[in-house]
């Protein structure tokens, strides 16, 4: 009964356009045949039509004509549909009605196909919209579906904000536990222990009788060398204990919780799948061990891991909503927003967080995600603010507020700081990658626990004597950012008091003063701290504990900036008659703010390491609340990026992605080589021919042999081995699951059964086993390029559409396939790297 149809040749697209009612049919116009949507009344008819059109070209290998036969065709299709419905037992288990669990999902360490996921979501959306016209319940469902994205954002914001607050409080307390304990309540940290105490003095603001150092508790004295030794030993003991607990917990429960997480999040957002990376155990362990790692005094920060924590929250909450649970692309939109939430709570910078997500982590960032990130970042910042973890109504420890003006001449030192930041960034990336590669390839990597313990021991041993390394990174930054006013009594503000202070001076800002002995001590301590931080951070980042990079980089920059700032200040004080200083730095004026230099230096160093620009400046300016420092910060970050880019284009996260060989197609890089698609595609010249499936002439046994003898993740489907005309593309996983399922659940499927990708089954002898129909799992609209397409265009297609693979045709015949991995290998080869470093599909 189908024979009369075979006289019709038709362009596939034309059939889609003309067939009545097809456009509102879910799942078709996007190229998928709606098999993921069970219980749709239109399914039969729709798929039938599609099958018919393809069937025409199937029966005969003549180029389809684009004219004629429309009326006949429609009539035929309806009668055919009727015939189909009555035809045989295969319909009962047809995957059409019953999409298998597992079909359309991905294996671990594989890349998703954005196009497929996005069209799946569009189909789903269209179906819901269509149904919403039918009943009130369906309408409500559609409304709740539309609303679920925002609800999810609200939940993510609340959860991430609450967790960040908890982490802040716990980390602060544990850091102080290394020095001593509070007697009025062990849960108070040092500052809160002396919160109400009136015994604090101007010089020693944090000393009160309620807070006992370990020496006071153990040795009974707070002074003398013995007390110092006891404190020293206790400091090392706690540091070792914390880091040991952190690394063993990570090792025992969630190995994925180690490291900063941003390189992996970046790769995941670009479409990679790492199962369990954003799971609940990772969340719990990362939260718990992050506190331990930060308080162990290691040179690491909590900002990067907080991004990971926020993404875990988002991923877990995604399971509550079908829309996001089932669609990898939609879930990645939520994860992008969660990355913004992470930075928002880490720095108390909601806008900076959104920009960070946009500039640094996200791969696909539509406007809708921007608004959602904005909302989520707002909710998270609000939650954190209401928890008030530091007791000062600020979201971060090192919030500063100053409004000292700066002069145009100061741009020169700011740019100098930018150069320093760029150099530090380059050096750090090179050294850290070299160290991580050593860890990856040599025996060093076999002893993660011992490594962590050793590094902690060295850190604690060297850090304790110097008060600037003993304090935590955030505290150090806050001290360095601080502007010395009359109210400050820290060593950094140890200036000589000028003899003729004008006692009527109302504001607390002071004129430039000569450095006193306190400041001189502070300066050389800071210089030592700078060297120490630079060296220790290189080997700390990448250890098997949660470790962020923001705080150590900022600390390095802040120390350098503060040193330069104090230097400038003294230079101006002693040489205020120089031409340079004459106009604006007369004696008695407050012309140079060392705290500002520290801030600029911090931004420059962070910029050099991560290569962020816009988001970094916004984060810094949200930290300071001073709009007038945007230009210095911009100058420094831009210089730092230029300098760092001159030595190597990739930031630390890209470098780590490359080190691990993740399949990440960098959107910022340009592809300049003049190769063609045919140079990159597989099979290469001399290789065996491409493994293909035919649409209606292979048996289950043959398909299984083919799948088992190869390791490809997908197979093109062609009309026949001779013609090699393309029909579609089938993923290995879907194929295996479907065959496996059919063998178990479907009667009569044996190795000799025919595997059929066409809509109707070819005529078979009556005694033959029933065919296995697998059209439902086939992608009918695989992307194709011709063999002479330039690679730069192909790379663009891959980047912009998020493709996973693309088929190459020659004169309309299937010639080969290009996968994301092939492109990455090709790019590695062009830039003289080892192409085998790309490990994953």
């Amino acid at each position: 009964m189908f024979q009369f149809l075979s006289s019709l040749y038709r362009n596939y697209a034309l059939a889609v356009d003309r067939a009545p009612g097809l456009m509102e049919n879910p799942g078709y116009s996007s190229g998928f045949d709606g098999l993921h949507h069970p219980s749709d009344d239109d399914d039969d008819e729709m798929v039938d039509i599609a099958g018919a059109t393809l069937d025409f070209s199937a029966t005969d290998d003549v180029p389809p004509l684009s004219s004629g036969g429309y009326d006949e065709y429609s009539a035929g299709s309806s009668s055919r549909a009727a015939g189909m419905n009555g035809s045989g037992p295969t319909k009962l288990v047809d995957p059409l009605e019953d999409p298998l669990p597992g079909v359309g999902t991905y294996e671990d360490f594989n890349t998703i196909d954005w196009v497929r996921e996005k069209s799946k979501d569009r189909d789903r959306h269209r179906e819901i919209t269509n149904k919403s016209r039918e009943s009130t319940v369906a309408l409500l469902h559609s409304v709740s579906d539309a609303f679920s994205g925002w609800l999810l954002m609200l939940l993510v914001g609340l959860m991430a904000g609450a967790l960040a607050g908890g982490i802040d409080i716990a980390a602060h307390w544990m850091t102080d536990l290394k020095e001593g304990v509070c007697l009025i309540g062990f849960w108070f940290n040092h500052e809160h222990c002396c919160w109400t105490s009136n015994e604090t003095t101007f010089q020693e603001r944090d000393r009160c009788p309620q807070w006992k150092s370990w020496a006071e508790l153990i040795a009974g004295t707070a002074q003398g060398p013995f007390a110092y030794i006891v404190n020293y030993l206790m400091y090392i003991f706690w540091a070792l204990l914390f880091s040991f607990l952190a690394v063993t917990l990570v090792r025992a429960f969630a190995p994925y919780a180690c490291g900063s997480g941003i390189p992996e999040i970046k790769t995941i957002l670009s479409g990679f799948i790492i199962r369990g990376y954003l799971g609940k155990w990772t969340l719990i362990i990362k939260t718990i061990t992050l506190v331990l790692a930060v308080s162990s005094g290691l040179s690491l920060g909590k900002e990067g891991p907080l991004v990971h924590v926020a993404c875990c929250c988002a991923n877990i909450l995604c399971h509550l909503f079908t829309k996001y649970r089932k669609n990898e692309a939609k879930r990645r939109e939520v994860l992008s927003a969660a990355a913004a939430v992470g930075v928002s709570v880490a720095f108390g910078a909601p806008i900076g967080g959104v920009l960070f997500s946009l500039e640094e982590v996200s791969y696909y960032f539509p406007l809708k995600t921007l608004w959602r990130s904005f909302f989520a970042a707002l909710v998270a910042a609000f939650t954190l603010r209401s928890i008030n973890p530091f007791g000062n109504s600020r979201l971060v420890l090192f919030y500063v507020e100053f409004h000292a003006p700066w002069h145009l001449v100061e741009l020169a030192p700011f740019i100098l700081l930018g150069i320093f930041g760029g150099l530090w960034g380059t050096l750090f990336i090179k050294a850290n990658i070299a160290w991580c590669r050593t860890r990856k390839t040599t025996r060093l990597g076999h002893y993660p626990v011992i490594e962590v313990l050793l590094v902690t021991a060295v850190t604690a041993l060297l850090a304790f004597p110097n008060s600037y390394t003993r304090m935590s990174g955030a505290e150090l930054i806050s001290e360095l950012f601080n502007d010395c006013s009359l109210l400050d009594s820290s060593q950094l503000c140890g200036y000589k008091q000028p003899v003729n202070t004008s006692e009527t001076g109302v504001d607390n800002s002071l004129a430039d003063r000569p450095a006193g002995p306190g400041l001189c001590t502070a300066l050389w301590q800071l210089a030592l701290a700078l060297i120490f931080k630079i060296l220790i951070t290189v080997i700390t980042f990448g250890m098997k504990v949660p470790s962020g990079l923001f705080i150590p980089s900022m600390a390095v920059g802040a120390i350098a900036g503060r040193l330069l700032g104090v230097g400038m200040e003294q230079l101006a004080y002693y040489n205020h008659d120089w031409l340079l200083f004459r106009g604006w730095c007369s004696p008695g004026a407050d012309c140079i703010t060392p705290g500002l230099y520290a801030m600029v230096g911090a931004a420059a160093c962070l910029g050099g390491v991560t290569r962020m620009t816009v988001s970094l400046v916004v984060i810094m300016f949200e930290l300071t609340g001073g709009l007038e420092y945007i230009v210095p910060l911009m100058a420094a970050t831009m210089t730092s990026k230029w300098v760092a880019d001159a030595f190597g284009r990739e930031g630390i996260y890209e470098a780590h992605i490359r080190l691990n060989g993740y399949p990440f197609l960098e959107p910022k890089e340009e592809f300049e080589h003049s190769s063609l698609a045919v140079d990159v595609m597989r099979p290469r010249r001399g290789d065996p021919a491409l493994a293909v499936l035919t649409q209606d002439s292979m048996t289950v046994g043959e398909v299984e042999t083919l799948v088992e003898s190869t390791h490809y993740s997908g197979f093109p489907v062609v009309i026949s081995q001779e013609s090699q005309r393309l029909v579609g593309f089938v993923l290995r996983r879907d194929l295996l699951i479907s065959i496996d399922n059919a063998r178990k659940r479907q009667d009569g499927i044996v190795s000799a059964s025919l595997v059929v990708f066409t809509e109707h089954c070819p005529a078979q002898p009556p005694e033959a086993p029933p065919p296995l129909r697998l059209r439902g799992i086939m992608d009918l609209s695989p992307f194709t390029v011709t063999d002479h397409t330039p690679m730069d265009i192909t790379v663009d297609i891959f980047r912009k559409l998020g493709l996973r693979q693309c088929l190459v045709t020659h004169n309309g015949r299937l010639l080969g396939i290009i996968t994301k991995k092939d492109i990455l290998k090709h790019m590695a080869q062009i830039s003289n790297r080892d192409p085998d470093s790309i490990l994953f599909n």
Binding site: M159, A162, G165, G166, I169, A170, W173, G185, F186, W187, F188, H192, W195, T196, S197, T200, F202, Q203, L245, T248, L249, R251, A252, F253, A254, P255, Y256, C258, E264, R275, G276, K280, W281, I284, I285, I288, V291, L292, I316, L317, H319, I387, N388, G391, N392, C436, K440, G445, H446, P448, S485, L486, L487, E503, V506, N508, K544, L659, N660, Y662
Partner: protein, 186 residues
């Protein structure tokens, strides 16, 4: 799914608890005035438990260290800040944190030390020999496998055990790829 709702409920409960305990406590507000050195008066820090509107130098700095005519000049230099904290939140957070940490540690100790011992006592030597290698390499391996095979348990327990076993396999897989083969996260 159920687990997640449980977590949600727990979070909600925690939140309610937190807001309960973090109700304003009298020692949770302070007005802190920092007064820099002035002439021959040393710098001083004053803290008083006063409300926001009373948070000024004149109210907080008692006794005033300078004479009447200098009070204004002295006070102009002082900086007074009103601060709030919630000691309840701090207490609850630290206690929750420590209890989770403690539980995790206990569970870890149980999995690494106690369970192999338990297993050894339950099934003499015959099963020990065949699974000894696994145990040596991976502390969590196979113990439950053996346990669940020998007893037929109620359905619920079996389910939990099954889930736990699956989780362990995942962790082992992760550990292999992160710590042994160094393919990810290095």
């Amino acid at each position: 799914m159920k687990f997640l709702f449980g977590v949600e409920a727990l979070c909600l409960a925690c939140f309610v608890l937190l807001s309960q305990v973090s109700a304003k406590n009298s020692e949770d507000i302070r007005c802190k005035c920092i007064c820099p050195p002035y002439r021959d008066v040393e710098g001083q820090i004053y803290k008083q438990n006063v409300s926001l509107k009373d948070c000024t130098c004149l109210h907080v700095v008692v006794p005033m260290p300078v004479d009447g005519k200098d009070v204004e000049a002295y006070c102009l230099r002082c900086e007074c800040k009103y601060e709030e904290r919630s000691s309840g939140t701090i207490k609850v957070t630290i206690i929750i944190y420590l209890s989770i940490l403690g539980l995790l540690l206990l569970y870890m100790v149980y999995l690494t030390l106690l369970e192999p011992m338990l297993k050894r006592r339950l099934f003499g030597h015959s099963q020990l020999i065949q699974s000894d290698d696994d145990v040596d390499q991976q502390p969590f391996a196979n113990a439950h496998n053996v346990l669940s095979r020998s007893h037929s348990r109620p359905n619920m327990l079996n389910k939990v055990e099954h889930a736990q076993q699956r989780w362990r396999r995942q962790v082992q897989e992760q550990r292999k790829s992160v710590f042994d083969r160094h393919v990810v996260l290095s």
